[in-house]
């Protein structure tokens, strides 16, 4: 058994960390929220680095990497609240996988896609998109769209309402691919959430070591210490699940539906807990606009509803587990 990242994946993570920490930040997330400043690092930089095209085959100009490779990068993006989301890149790469025209354009960033959910509603990364993918009567379609921007809770997610115009059929029978794209998207969303939760935990731990109350660093109080430990346990649990689920995408596809739902649900819960702990550990300061804590909190409050909510995800986990046991 070797349930661990490879050396190449660790190098990839380090390179991603370098890029994202210089190209994005909670400060940029605050500016997007405050003044509508562009989301960082933005579509172009994500395409130029090749990170957004990791899972696209080399023949189409992508990285030819695995979902696990992408997950490793997505974790780093999540740590600094980067946008647009690699979730969108990953889903589009699956949806356009046999499209010889559109896939290269996705890979080199000349087309900026977003994916409209089957049930409608807010579209992730819509505010930076010019093309949209959707499922219509079982067919996968692509087209332009009209965007209605709305007051965001977390501006980095680029959410907007979208009406699809002029759709062309990409694949007549798109349902299976659509499902897989959604599941891969859930895994990548979980990987971003892992990074966000993990960074939130670190910020909380750092503050708990510095801040003194009643003559002791507050991290020495069990109320603070144990809350941070619970967040830590959650983060480590989530990390295992993200790695496994990403691995199943290529290596054990029959397990992907359950693994993706488990990651989706668990990431929602773990990230929300970590972000709330971050705010609470900081006391008053964590509750101010200028502090980064609320930006992690905002990401948590929004992410839990993306690509289905946690309640739906856990229902799916249970249904699949029960079906498996009843066999």
């Amino acid at each position: 058994m070797n349930f661990d990242l490879s050396d190449e994946q660790r190098q990839l993570a380090a390179a991603a960390a370098d890029f994202f920490t210089s190209a994005a930040s909670p400060g940029a997330a605050r500016a997007s929220l405050d003044t509508g400043a562009p989301i960082e690092p933005g579509r172009k930089a994500m395409a130029d680095t090749g990170f957004a095209a990791i899972t696209i085959p080399e023949s189409a100009g992508g990285g030819g990497g695995s979902v696990l490779d992408l997950a490793v990068v997505a974790e780093q993006a999540g740590r600094v609240l980067a946008g647009p989301s690699l979730v969108t890149a990953a889903r589009a790469a699956v949806l356009l996988e046999d499209d010889a025209d559109r896939l290269p354009a996705l890979a080199d960033g000349s087309a900026a896609y977003a994916v409209i959910e089957e049930t409608g509603g807010p579209v992730l990364d819509a505010t930076t998109a010019d093309r949209f993918l959707a499922l219509r009567d079982g067919a996968l379609v692509a087209g332009g769209g009209s965007i209605t921007e709305r007051a965001p809770i977390d501006a980095t997610r680029g959410l907007a309402d979208v009406t699809l115009d002029d759709a062309e059929v990409v694949a007549k029978d798109g349902v299976a691919r659509w499902e897989r794209a959604l599941q891969v998207g859930q895994v990548v969303l979980g990987a971003e959430g892992l990074g966000t939760a993990s960074k939130a935990l670190e910020l909380g731990v750092d503050y708990a070591k510095q801040r003194v109350a009643f003559g002791r660093q507050i991290g020495s109080y069990q109320a603070i210490k144990h809350a941070l430990v619970d967040a830590f346990v959650g983060v480590e649990q989530l990390r295992s699940l993200v790695w496994w689920a990403a691995w199943t995408a290529e290596e054990s596809p029959a397990e992907l539906p359950l693994a993706a739902a488990a990651v989706k649900g668990m990431a929602a819960v773990v990230l929300e807990k970590a972000a709330e702990t971050l705010v609470q550990v900081h006391g008053g300061i964590g509750f101010t606009w200028e502090h980064d804590a609320h930006l992690y909190w905002r990401r948590a409050k929004v992410d839990r509803f993306l690509l289905g909510d946690d309640v739906e995800a856990f229902d799916t986990v249970a249904r699949l587990a029960i079906a498996g046991a009843a066999k």
Binding site: V212, G215, R216, G284, T288
Partner: protein
């Protein structure tokens, strides 16, 4: 057991209700008072008119312009004000905290200069205690007051979380006058003129985007020794009066935290039908739990009110209500947001409703402001259950020495 007024309470309530009804047109409504930029003059007039009806300073002694009434009468006024949808008082901090502190520790001169104007809403007051480096551990504050050769005090430092500072005329200021003794012993309380040179007020924006509080900076602010409240070095004891008055002015009573139980029920009733049957069951399960918990908090508040009406002082038990109320308030806000469905990821719904999102963003602060959940649990554990306190690492240390703790990090 009953939930009705005694005959005396009923008579008082009728009097209050009549006065409010008679002046309803001139009084400010809660929606006007709730606006971010309050019309200061209107707010002052509102309080003045209420004062004329005997509805301000209900429990204050008559000699200082109050009504000499009971805590229960104050609770009745609060209920009727809420029922009529009237705005709260711009003097809320002054009436609940600063005034009682001046009454208990002020000089005759201070009492005569300040209390009447405070009651009538002519001056607005704020309370300058919390600092960036001293939240839960209030006595660790660093704002310094140094005695000058002329006998006055020169103040330097920063306060934070100061409600109403941006419209205040005066504040009560807790400052360190001796750093070489234990932290509780080196403090002194002052009345500070908020218009004095060197006082700077900066609104403090919260994570919800709203600025309900302020930061206040003191740069060489001069305070005459006559504006000292209590003895030099006695500031901690004076501050305890203030904090006790705060508890009295909050007073329990089972009011809802957050958006309110009835609003939540209406929201659930309106939205639940949009969901599939199985999902409705999940919503009902969560809502039922929170509804029951909210009722329990409400009736626990009524138990406290009943005790107050028999003359009891609100004790630390009131913290149980805040803990429980914050918890259900958060859970109801979360439920409210979730019920918005697709709209839950935006700050405002298509219909223009942002109540649930605002509540979601505001309630983490409830678990922090006015005593964090952790501090309240310590207080309840130690003062109500009688459990032993934490060991204190800074016990017996001078304030200056205690500053070194954690400094090696």
């Amino acid at each position: 057991m009953d939930f009705d007024d005694t005959p005396e309470e009923a008579a008082y309530r009728a009097k209050v209700r009549d006065y409010i009804a008679a002046h309803r047109g001139e009084l400010m409504s809660v929606s006007e008072g709730g606006r971010r930029a309050v019309d200061l003059d209107a707010a002052k007039q509102h309080q003045s008119l209420m004062y004329d009806g005997g509805l301000v300073g209900v429990t204050w002694p008559k000699e200082y312009g109050g009504q000499g009434g009971t805590q229960m009468q104050q609770a009745i006024v609060n209920q009727e004000v809420a029922k009529a949808g009237l705005a709260g008082f711009i003097g809320v901090i002054g009436l609940g905290m600063c005034g009682p502190t001046v009454i208990a520790h002020g000089s005759d001169d201070q009492k005569s200069r300040y209390l009447g104007r405070l009651l009538r809403g002519e001056d607005v007051w704020c309370q300058l205690f919390s600092e960036p480096a001293s939240g839960s551990d209030l006595a660790a504050l660093r704002t310094k007051a140094v005695k000058t050769d002329s006998g006055s005090w020169r103040v330097n430092g920063q306060k934070v979380w100061t409600t109403l500072a941006h419209v205040s005329d005066y504040g009560i200021l807790l400052a360190r006058t001796d750093p070489d003794v234990a932290k509780h012993r080196g403090l002194t309380m002052f009345v500070v003129d908020m218009h004095a040179p060197g006082v700077t007020v900066r609104p403090l924006r919260q994570m919800s985007g709203v600025a309900e509080f302020n930061e206040v900076f003191f740069d060489d602010v001069e305070i005459p020794d006559e504006e000292r409240l209590g003895e030099v070095g006695d500031g901690w004891r004076v501050a305890l009066t203030t904090l006790m008055s705060e508890r009295l002015s909050l007073g329990g009573g089972g009011t809802d935290v957050g958006t309110g139980l009835d609003a939540a029920a209406a929201h659930v009733a309106k939205r639940i039908g949009e969901l599939p049957e199985t999902r409705q069951a999940l919503v009902r399960q969560e809502f039922g739990r929170q509804y029951a918990a909210s009722l329990a908090t409400r009736y626990t508040g009524y138990r406290q009110l009943s005790a107050i009406s028999k003359g009891a002082m609100p004790g630390p038990e009131a913290s149980a209500g805040k803990l429980a109320g914050t918890k259900t308030g958060r859970a109801l806000a979360d439920l409210g947001v979730r019920l918005l469905g697709d709209e839950a990821v935006y700050a405002i719904t298509a219909e223009g409703d942002g109540r649930w999102q605002n509540s979601q963003a505001g309630l983490p602060g409830m678990a922090i402001a006015g005593g964090t959940d952790e501090i309240l649990r310590n207080v309840l554990g130690e003062r109500v259950l009688g459990l032993p306190p934490e060991p204190r690492a800074d016990k017996g240390m001078s304030f200056n020495d205690s500053l070194r703790i954690g400094a090696s990090e």
